[in-house]
Symmetry: C2
Subunit: 560 residues, 2 copies
């Protein structure tokens, strides 16, 4: 190891953070070592970060990887500009063996040193949060503040959380044990046993377009911390944030005396379908994937040599039965529907509202009134263009725009989408959400509300009763999956029904959120993202199951 | 709950045992609460146990299960007698919904009460160990002492170990948390969060012929302790031990106030293929399987709605390089090859011996001498018929007998199998092991030593060098899988090579065993059975990965 990154200095620097993370995942109280306010990063950080991002544009991002057979990259910011960054394209027959060769010494380093190296990587990424924020903004289309927070500290939190789970899982079994079995009057039988956490192989991270770091870091760090090498295959439209991540990881690994090929980037040529090729390579033993259900299902069915962790599509529901804070409910929902133009796997889609209306602290509100008032709340929230731009960000791809434009064909539009001008980035497509009215009793409407409509389109579905709403919630989770469920009710009976449905169908429930926490946001160390128990995802961020099968324990026993 | 099985009394009775088990899996020191000596069960236990077993024969074993549409059972003891026990045949369209209905109150009982109920089941099974020993003996063909120990206390240990892992995994997340996020000068955001371990659904245990309880209890108890219902589908030739287990479980569940349908038996009609039907039912969310690679692979590929834990076939290797206790090595290996006529997934098959011979404390021994001396050690061990019967047990099925009989066609026979008479059970097929000489340099011999030959047939493979032996070990584990690896060496260099091979190919290694511990035996709470990281098994008994995905954690959060 280099003088400044010995095991001793790394442990001195990062062990307290790891211990706090371990405590946080035990108590699930609020905790984060990564400030979420841009100002916390120092006065010069915003300018430095932007300059660092600008300096990357139009250049090759060299990673000094073995087996580079070309340069690729054609990212265009959803805000307009071409990024012009080129990345190494891998000859996988050269790169994969180099990655395998890097693993034995990483395995021998043990769980604590691996955790410390991961924390050093995260800490260097954290120091460059402003730069990463621009990279996330100009690949995902998130507004700057969201790109900063979700792509920066919140993603780093999820990475650290995965390291903590990985560490604790590996040290549940001691390094060594003396085993002495009594034999009555004879001498006991004594064995000396050694236990080693061994990696499964090369772990493949298949990144997504919308949250390259937030959805990528848990798998990346869980696999690296458990001794595996990690090959990062970013979404072709969101390479830069993960390429920077790989660069930092390689830099830290080398400085700490390990082979940098433990982490490598696999950028693909346009239309190459590299994920599909890599996913069935025998060297690939773990896959982390966020994206479409179709490809997630394909991975689960075909990448049989690997442990496959998928987050796919779902249909998120909010049951609106009653509230004692009508204004708070509307404001909270309006924010949830608007944030990043609903381009989150956790954004509510189906708002189930009794057709007879709901009881509120502002009196009884009919179905129509609720829908109209919610539409009004969204319009109010997004009435100012500067605020709208800051919340909405840009539409990430043409398919989302098409969904907005064809929403009128699905049903009666209660809130039409408005085009917002972005003065800084005039080419950006910025659109406010659409709300469409549907009827839960009309069979014709079912196809719409039982399909994921990714983007800022939600359905206000009129239901015969709260019980019917719970039944539809149950069916939706069971058949289509859900990353989130919300409910508003003042009735303990309805609350119990919704809770039972979520416990039985395995979905994460937010009840009566009216303040500054939203159904589509989860906090690392405390909230689980997804349940891993319904069709939307086969794993949760983060729990024991997410890390326990990324390594195996090999025992060597001998007479003592 | 009944008066004597309230949560309070159960906790008072069993919590100390659970705590000791939790400590044992942390330290992996020797521990067991289940005595392995038959005398420990009281003076009348042997007679009572045998009488209880005899009383079962020729009768119906009623379990009072819903949806029983007939009675089946045609078990014949490998020792000769027909058991004549009939078991309920399930109408699964009635039984499965009844099992699902039983789950919510079991979920609501929480991890500790579930663990306590599981420990009560195990403790009642333990009290009937003599009866179970006869049931295991007359279905598996194990000799009585082995059926007693492996089918009784050792199986109970593995069940308890799974309960301990399941318990600790579920309580890693607290039941509730207060989450308070600072907001600078504003009031913090306060959320109250509840976390519930929820079951996946119905868990299917597909039992095996040779170790119905030992291989069945880990999955059964891991699933039950994590809130799932468990449907037990025994091997048609080894129903009785698991049927008795189900009976005890149902009795305890009912007494503790739970629905007995949480555990049910699914016995199949001859040739029905019920496992295949059940495995793809949507209600089945977990499968535990021990058996052939072909069906294990089929389950992994087709039971896509379920978490599938498999133990399949492998090829176990012992590298014989050198020893400082030649006699001890020969005796230890002879015992390993003989125990239960090699009908264990952990029995060594390939003995890799340098053709130039090995160094020993008794001087240099040529390849031929080693093979001859090992054959002699087996003959010595089994020379006395009474001792041979006590070690070998009976051949479990005609396929094993055929393998013994055709072993001479594979290569030069260094030790021929001898037929042993069993005076108590003259119909039993009792056979001593065969050792066949093969050459690792002859391509023609490869097909033999690279296939599993289940039963008392092992291959003494002549190798060019110890390094070649390690390479063949490596290749065998990678391509065919291995439950166990053994090695004898006094060379630190060879030892290191073997260790590296096992760490990299993920196999459990026993080094230089010469005393009363054998490569084919593992002790619960300390040794891992299988690694879960090579083709022989996709899971290990027992670790976090074996339990962590049998439940999911559902979070409900609301403003505090």
């Amino acid at each position: 190891m280099a003088a400044d990154l010995t095991a001793v200095t790394l442990i001195e620097k990062h062990r307290p953070t790891l211990d706090q993370a371990l405590e946080a995942i035990r108590t699930r109280a609020y905790w984060s070592p990564h400030p979420e306010h841009p100002k916390a990063y120092g006065e010069s950080a915003p300018g430095d970060g932007q300059a660092a991002f600008e300096a990357l544009r139009g250049k090759r991002l060299g990673l000094d990887q073995p087996g580079t057979d070309g340069w690729v990259g054609d990212e265009v910011s959803p805000y307009g500009p071409e990024l012009g960054v080129e990345y190494p394209h891998p000859d996988v027959d050269v790169l994969l063996p180099a990655m395998r060769a890097a693993m034995p010494s990483w395995r021998d380093a043990g769980p604590e040193v691996r955790a410390m190296v991961c924390l050093e990587i995260l800490s260097r990424i954290n120091a460059r949060t402003h730069e990463f924020a621009h990279a996330v903004m100009h690949t995902s289309g998130q507004a700057f503040m969201m790109a900063f927070q979700a792509g920066g500290p919140h993603a780093q939190d999820r990475g650290l959380e995965a390291v903590a789970y990985a560490y604790v899982e590996q040290v549940r079994t001691p390094d060594a044990a003396d085993w002495s079995k009594p034999q009555g009057k004879r001498d006991p039988i004594n064995l000396s046993k050694q236990f080693t956490a061994v990696p499964r192989g090369i772990s493949l991270l298949i990144g997504c377009n919308t949250f390259p770091t937030w959805n990528g870091y848990p798998g990346l760090f869980a696999s690296l911390a458990t001794g595996n090498a990690v090959l990062v295959k970013p979404h072709p439209r969101a390479v830069l944030p993960l390429a920077l991540t790989v660069a930092v990881a390689r830099e830290v690994l080398a400085e700490a005396g390990f082979d940098p090929n433990l982490v490598a980037l696999a950028t693909e040529r346009s239309g190459e379908g590299l994920a599909k090729t890599l996913a069935v390579r025998p060297e690939i033993k773990i896959i982390d994937y966020t994206g479409s259900t179709a490809f997630g299902d394909w991975l689960e069915a075909n990448a049989r040599q690997a442990q496959v962790y998928t987050e796919k599509a779902g249909v998120n529901t909010v049951v609106i039965d009653s509230t004692d804070d009508y204004k708070g409910m509307l404001g909270n929902l309006a924010f949830s529907l608007s944030l990043y133009s609903g381009q989150m796997c956790t954004t509510p889609q189906n708002l189930l509202i009794p057709r007879e209306g709901i009881g509120t602290d502002a009196g009884h509100k009919s179905y129509d009134e609720v829908v109209t008032d919610l539409a009004g709340a969204v319009q109010g929230l997004l009435g100012d263009d500067a605020r709208a731009n800051a919340l909405l960000g840009a539409i990430v791809n043409p398919q989302v725009r098409e969904r907005i434009e064809s929403a009128g064909g699905i049903g009666e539009v209660a809130l039409a989408s408005r085009t917002v001008q972005n003065p800084e980035f005039p080419e950006a497509t910025v659109r406010t959400p659409v709300i469409v009215k549907l009827d839960g009793a009309k069979p014709d409407d079912e196809a719409a509300y039982l399909s994921e409509c990714f983007g800022p389109v939600s359905f206000a579905v009129a239901m015969d009763s709260a019980s019917d709403a719970v039944e539809l919630l149950r069916r939706t989770v069971r058949e289509k999956g859900a990353m989130t469920v919300g409910a508003y009710t003042t009735s303990s009976e309805v609350e119990q029904q919704v809770e039972q449905a979520c416990l039985e169908e395995c979905a994460q429930l937010s009840l009566n959120l009216t303040g500054g926490v939203y159904v589509n946001q989860t906090a690392a160390f405390s909230d689980f993202h997804g349940s891993g128990g319904n069709p939307a995802a086969n794993s949760a961020l983060c729990d024991g199951a997410f890390v326990a099968n990324r390594f195996r324990t090999v025992e060597v026993r001998r007479p003592a």
